[in-house]
């Protein structure tokens, strides 16, 4: 019998756990110093929208009945409680720290997109720097790199996204992307219940961006804050 592991929790919830994605009864098992919410499963779940929604739904219900919930990646199946303990043990301290960090908190996600047109960028970039003709290639390279970094059109937009909801941010994770027009995703950990205020702050703070647009989603369980090395 395999175990599907949904999340780690800091305290065993006192309320009914309910059922997981296959209708299986959920239970909390101890694994070293950690507690995990698991369900018995005969076979791995198929990767379907329904399964993904059910995984998320189960984790959301955990967040409703206990304060600190660290989601596991979809499809986390172990052979049994011993196997689970073996896998968690090397990261126990890191996971405990992560649980403390997400306690009473939830995740909001902002995605930053380029908006056309960017006519202005050409004029900005084409202003030639006053470069002495006798500079070597190394010096010219540095000057060009400085110009590129200064005129980064995305920098202002990203700064706005990071600054606007500053009062709400308890932790932050920024991912930059290459698939245009998508520029970056920003995940913020906020106190539970602050989602609407956070979204309003982000929209207000980015309303004047001419070459970028944002979407805000959430609240989510703290998926983006479950990985180890966040300071």
């Amino acid at each position: 019998m395999s175990l599907y592991v949904y999340a780690l929790v800091a305290k065993g919830p006192s309320e009914e756990l309910g059922t997981g994605m296959s209708g299986e009864a959920l239970r909390v098992v101890a694994s070293g110093r950690l507690l995990a919410v698991v369900g018995d499963m005969y076979a791995p779940p198929p990767v379907t929208p329904t399964a993904l929604y059910e995984h998320d739904r189960t984790i959301r219900r955990m967040t409703a009945i206990t304060d600190a919930v660290l989601p596991l990646r979809f499809g986390s199946i172990v052979d049994g409680e011993l196997d689970l303990a073996r896998r968690l043990e090397p990261a126990e301290a890191t996971l405990e720290a992560a649980l403390t960090r997400v306690a009473g908190r939830e995740q909001m996600t902002v995605r930053l997109y380029e908006r056309q047109p960017r006519v202005e960028e050409d004029t900005r970039m084409s202003a030639p720097p006053a470069v002495a003709a006798d500079l070597g290639p190394g010096a010219r390279y540095l000057l060009e790199r400085r110009r590129t970094l200064e005129h980064d059109p995305h920098r202002a937009a990203l700064d706005a996204v990071l600054a606007a909801p500053a009062a709400f941010i308890r932790a932050q994770r920024v991912e930059s992307h290459g698939s245009r027009p998508l520029i970056a995703s920003v995940h913020h950990l906020i106190e539970r219940g602050q989602g609407a205020a956070y979204a309003a702050a982000v929209h207000a703070g980015t309303a004047n961006l001419i070459d970028a647009a944002v979407t805000v989603s959430g609240p989510w369980p703290p998926y983006a804050f479950a990985s180890g090395e966040l300071t």
Partner: protein
């Protein structure tokens, strides 16, 4: 906790997010499903090049700052610039060999964000 979304999203934006996720999820099927040693090599190359790229950006930022502050002699500026230029070329060409995009090498520092 019920999830909401605000802000409008056109087809181009959705496609971009889809493409990004295809790339990410594509990387998740780990090397052990596929005993191809090239996959493992690529993973190692990615780690090494990501670290190199991180250091390159850090050094570049420091070099520019010192150049602006005037604390570099012309010779130092030239030498630093050349070294950084060569480092960038090396990273780019090695990344290309392993079919790694510039975005693959962008180190996510968690709450510290990216070094941009």
């Amino acid at each position: 906790m019920s999830q909401k979304k605000t802000g409008s999203l056109g087809a181009r934006e959705v496609d971009a997010l889809r493409q990004e996720l295809e790339h990410r999820v594509g990387e998740l099927a780990p090397a052990r499903w596929n005993a191809d040693p090239e996959d493992v090599q690529r993973s190692v190359a990615k780690l090494v090049l990501t670290l190199m790229e991180f250091l390159r950006k850090l050094f570049e930022k420091q070099a520019i700052r010192r150049m602006e502050a005037g604390s570099l002699s012309p010779e130092e500026t030239e030498a630093l610039g050349l070294a950084l230029m060569r480092l960038e070329e090396t990273i780019t060409s090695l990344a290309a060999q392993f079919e790694l995009s510039p975005d693959d090498l962008n180190l996510d520092l968690g709450p510290l964000g990216r070094l941009q």
